[in-house]
């Protein structure tokens, strides 16, 4: 048992640190420094900078352009990215659909899709959930009916994150009604520009458009966009879901947010209440830190198991549950640290062209919208209740 970094790993850390200090696109760097919102273009520019460095495919196998990083290197990278307050990597292309394509896709699909995903040239979104198929995902009804060398797709996907930015959507669709529900599901890639695809916004509690409903009306999808075999989509999706869960803990960014909070508690900016003497609040800060430290080591244990060749198993459910709980605990600490300045709703303050009211401390008016919005993390990617069902069944064999 040993968590020291080797000489090579220290050198790698310095290289990553230098990248975040010097090589981020200038407009991204500026927005981070001014605490402004990152746009679609900024996001792409950032991911393309990573790609230029050869660092876009952190989890990808080397043969498809991945980094081949060890678990420790990934850990180092995530920490440095969080310290630099870099944008998170949008997962739908790089960490969700890509593993399905390089694991289950055919050669032609790999060549067609992977390079553009790696280079962030194409924006992907995830089309799983439906109005009546959320936790019970296998109950999905979006139908793909074979018609010659096309599928005709009809149905509605919902909660589609950043679907209004997306060029492509990967979908779970129903190709058969016989047998078990899971066995009639297929994994289909659909061009969002196809005739019959429409995207309508869903506004979330922070007043923003982040999710969408995506409708398919007689959309013709070439058969070559089917990944793997018809009826095997559920199995592929499960593999993908475990990938999703290991990335959902957000340990590095939680560490960073707590660290910044601690700094502000020691030297409160004007407008922030003085909380360092409030032992009730400080007890919550400490408990959050302790929970996060335990989670960090749990994640390291999972990562080290993965690096010795074991697939992330049901224990990755712990990461999802605990990781999201800690994120929400931190959200609440920030809300408290904003005092009454949690109340003003001034979203323009975080836009580049915003010329309205500026509230100090700058972070405060964003804490409530963020807290509201971030209730999502215990809901999406399989709700925390569903995750506990998995632990009870698969781990505890109840």
């Amino acid at each position: 048992m040993n968590i020291d970094l080797t000489g090579d790993e220290l050198a790698f850390r310095d290289e990553v640190r230098a990248f975040f200090q010097n090589e981020l696109p200038p407009q991204v760097m500026e927005k981070i420094q001014r605490g402004l919102r990152i746009s679609r273009d900024d996001q792409i520019a950032y991911q393309q900078a990573l790609h230029a460095k050869g660092w876009a495919g952190a989890n990808w196998p080397v043969e498809y352009g991945g980094t081949g990083w060890s678990a420790t290197q990934k850990y180092i990278f995530n920490n440095e990215a969080a310290t630099a307050q870099a944008p998170r990597i949008i997962p739908f292309g790089l960490t969700m659909v890509a593993p399905v394509i390089y694991t289950f896709g055919n050669e032609e699909q790999k060549q067609r899709f992977l390079p553009d995903i790696l280079a962030s040239k194409v924006w992907w979104c995830q089309g799983y959930s439906e109005p009546n198929a959320g936790s019970d995902l296998a109950g999905l009804k979006t139908r793909a009916v074979r018609d010659g060398d096309h599928y005709i797709v009809n149905g509605t996907k919902t909660w589609t994150t950043l679907g209004h930015y997306a060029d492509w959507i990967f979908c779970l669709v129903r190709t058969s009604d016989t047998g078990k529900k899971q066995e009639g599901i297929s994994f289909l890639l659909i061009d969002m520009n196809s005739p019959g695809v429409s995207v309508t916004p869903i506004i979330t509690l922070d007043g923003r458009r982040e999710v969408n409903e995506v409708n398919f009306e007689d959309v013709r999808v070439p058969v070559e966009n089917l990944v793997g075999e018809e009826g095997k989509g559920w199995t592929y999706a499960k593999v993908l879901l475990t990938h999703e869960r290991t990335n959902i803990a957000g340990v590095a960014s939680s560490k960073q947010r707590l660290k910044r909070l601690r700094e502000m508690l020691s030297e409160p900016p004007l407008g922030m209440p003085n909380l360092i003497d409030n032992s009730v609040f400080m007890a919550r800060v400490m408990e959050t830190e302790i929970e996060l430290k335990a989670l960090e080591f749990t994640e390291l244990r999972v990562l080290s198991a993965v690096s010795t060749g074991k697939a992330p198993g049901p224990e990755s459910s712990i990461l999802k549950i605990k990781g999201t709980e800690v994120q929400q605990m931190i959200d609440e600490l920030y809300l408290e640290a904003s005092g009454h300045y949690a109340l003003p709703f001034v979203p323009e303050q975080y836009e580049e062209e915003g010329d309205g009211i500026v509230i100090e401390p700058h972070f405060a008016p964003n804490t409530a919208p963020h807290y509201y919005n971030n209730r999502k993390v215990t809901i999406f990617g399989g709700t925390n209740e569903i995750q506990k069902n998995i632990i009870a069944k698969a781990v505890l064999e109840l």
């Binding site: 999710v211 009730v280 609440e332 009454h340 409530a368 509201y372």
Partner: protein
């Protein structure tokens, strides 16, 4: 001992429930929050007609002479409707301050106008460096031959954009932290020297940052001695706000129970899953415990004295903890629908969250209780 509503309270509850049912459905409320003014003047007139604006004021000024327990009946219903009209800032804060601290002539003139629906108020108390302390006031009032002039920055003044008159807490003597030397002033916000930056709040109300640069102000009541009136008014305000919170929480519980009866996953209503049943049982218990605490708080605060502040803090702690659980679980049990702007549940969640940040948070009041226990 009797917790039943008396006739007046029953009438208040019925009229408020009817108003919300008929005139204040969720979509109407949404339109109001998105309008320029942020609420409805017509509703305000109706509040005057219904006697709500007269509720806590002395009969001598045309008030109804209602008690704090009468007020909580109304406030709970206003909570159920997520009512955004500036009742809290005008009646519960501003009006009560005038009634407690104004001179005889100020009381009769201002309260009469208030009761008639012709005067809206806002209480400018907190400052950027001061979140819920009464005495940490830097805004100062200088006296000269022409009267008083105020200079300072007041933070997050709720109801300010619609107020005809501001009630401003300022220091006339002493230092930051002193109880003596605090005075209340009446300030016309339309005067030169007042800069108001108005904004919506993230739970659908309106507030403002206000800067006073040597602004002419009228002293309310006696100089230097406003501490007790402010303290007593804020204790009342905690009770009133907690009553609103109870209304909000009961709506969150009901909405969640109804949703779980109809939302189906895995071929059954999700309300059949025992883990969710227990969660809703917890929410139910927290609502009831908070209502009990509200009654304790209303009775004790009305009795005044040392106990009043202690009870107000206890109540605010309970509202903070219970509101957090009920709000968060309501959203969680709604799944994705819980974080969408479309359903009312998210808006009740926002309100209950912001109620914790008003008038001192749970952590803050808990800390006060600990300090008092240590000092005892």
């Amino acid at each position: 001992m009797d917790f039943a509503l008396n006739d007046i309270q029953q009438m208040l509850q019925d009229s408020a429930a009817k108003f919300i049912q008929n005139d204040y459905d969720f979509e109407t409320r949404r339109r109001l929050t998105e309008s320029e003014l942020g609420y409805s003047e017509e509703n305000w007139k109706l509040f005057a007609e219904l006697g709500w604006l007269a509720l806590p004021f002395d009969e001598a000024y045309g008030g109804l002479g209602g008690s704090l327990t009468d007020l909580i009946v109304l406030q709970t219903e206003l909570g159920r409707g997520l009512v955004v009209e500036p009742y809290f800032s005008t009646v519960v804060l501003g009006g009560n301050l005038i009634q407690r601290h104004g001179s005889e002539s100020q009381q009769s003139e201002l309260l009469e106008r208030l009761i008639a629906g012709e005067l809206k108020l806002a209480f400018a108390q907190a400052e950027p460096q001061c979140h819920s302390s009464i005495t940490d006031i830097e805004t100062s009032a200088e006296r000269s031959e022409e009267g008083y002039h105020i200079t300072g920055h007041k933070a997050v003044v709720l109801g300010a954009p619609s107020a005809d008159l501001l009630v401003v807490a300022a220091r006339t003597s002493g230092n930051r932290g002193d109880q003596n030397g605090l005075s209340l002033f009446l300030v016309d916000p339309a005067q030169p020297g007042v800069t108001m930056q108005a904004y919506p709040t993230n739970d659908g109300f309106r507030g403002a940052e206000i800067r006073f640069d040597s602004v002419k102000a009228t002293l309310l009541g006696e100089v230097d001695s406003a501490y007790d009136a402010i303290q007593a008014t804020l204790n009342d305000a905690i009770v009133a706000l907690s009553a609103e919170a109870v209304g909000v929480m009961e709506k969150l519980l009901n909405a969640t129970v109804e949703f779980c009866k109809v939302r189906k996953q895995f071929g059954q209503p999700i309300g059949k899953f025992q883990v969710l049943q227990h969660r809703m049982a917890d929410m139910f218990m927290e609502c009831e415990q908070t209502r009990s605490m509200l009654y304790f708080g209303a009775i004790t605060v009305a009795g005044g004295g040392e106990e009043a502040s202690h009870a107000a803090s206890m109540l605010k702690v309970k509202v903070g903890s219970a509101g957090r659980l009920v709000g968060q679980q309501a959203v969680q049990l709604h799944g994705g629908m819980g974080v969408s702007d479309e359903l009312d549940v998210g808006h009740f969640f926002k309100r209950i969250t912001m109620i914790n940040t008003l008038l001192g948070s749970r952590d803050e009041h808990l800390q006060r209780l600990i300090r008092n226990a240590q000092a005892a």
